[in-house]
Symmetry: C2
Subunit: 167 residues, 2 copies
């Protein structure tokens, strides 16, 4: 009987632990959950912004990578997710004319679902800030800020990223 | 008999086709073969060089990614391969203060094998230029150029790349 209680308690603690670990990143205010495993996605492109001194790497889930590599990005197919990792520029200690990723700014995502997100160009937007991955936005209206910024690239399916040429 | 001949000929043509496709990228002059599937590797970092106006993304094979994510990069373990994709800067058409990957310059690799490449810091170097992936270097001595350039980062296991901070 004692061993049964110990076993049940151990299982319960494991379950609580796993649940806590899985939910440690809060969803964005519009309900979008952070895409799991995004750090394992493949690369689509990169960019450097002189105005806010940031370096960026743009990754894609499998659907996005297949679309990018076959030129099917106008529009991107439903199911595509683009993930942008953003760092502040910092000077390379041994190559002064180079900048490398410094402080991690945020990871932001565009999720293509042309019916679910039809009011924002078919894209769901979300961003998690800093290494502690705090959701961006006070309420669900934050997406208007995202969508407004992406309006100039409406003719590129609201996406700034252009897949990099690769062999 | 006729069908047997047709079948054998078809198999032979397929074999030649597959062989040709697999070997279309020539090895580097030091004998290093281009690592297959490098475009599917995960990202370690990025950089922007002001001196030659290039954007870079640094990828790693599984061994390198595991090392980078667990801070075991001094030295990088044998079996690690770092791949750097380099593009010329080009202005983003809709965001003038941003540069994005333009012309593809080259893909270059560092392969860690501390015994095989002990004369060059434990690293084998190779580079393939342009979208047609032409091997860099007239003969095997080209690695001295690579190794000389990496000498200033001897204390970082001859590697310029520093894994980017990520959540």
């Amino acid at each position: 009987m004692k061993y049964l209680v110990i076993t049940i308690l151990t299982c319960l603690l494991c379950f609580i632990g796993i649940t806590f670990a899985e939910n440690k990143v809060l969803p964005a205010p519009n309900g979008i959950e952070m895409p799991m495993q995004y750090k394992d996605w493949r690369v689509i492109s990169s960019s450097h912004r002189e105005d806010n001194k940031t370096l960026r790497v743009i990754l894609g889930n499998d659907t996005a990578i297949e679309a990018a590599r076959s030129g099917r990005t106008k529009p991107w197919p439903d199911g595509s997710i683009l993930g942008k990792l953003v760092w502040k520029d910092t000077e390379h200690p041994e190559w002064k004319k180079a900048t490398i990723p410094g402080k991690f700014v945020h990871a932001e995502f565009m999720i293509k679902d042309s019916s679910k997100y039809k009011d924002t160009g078919g894209w769901g937007f979300a961003r998690w800030k800093g290494l502690n991955q705090e959701p961006h936005g006070k309420d669900a209206s934050f997406v208007q800020e995202c969508f407004g910024c992406h309006a100039p690239v409406k003719n590129n399916d609201y996406v700034f990223t252009q897949p990099s040429p690769m062999p």
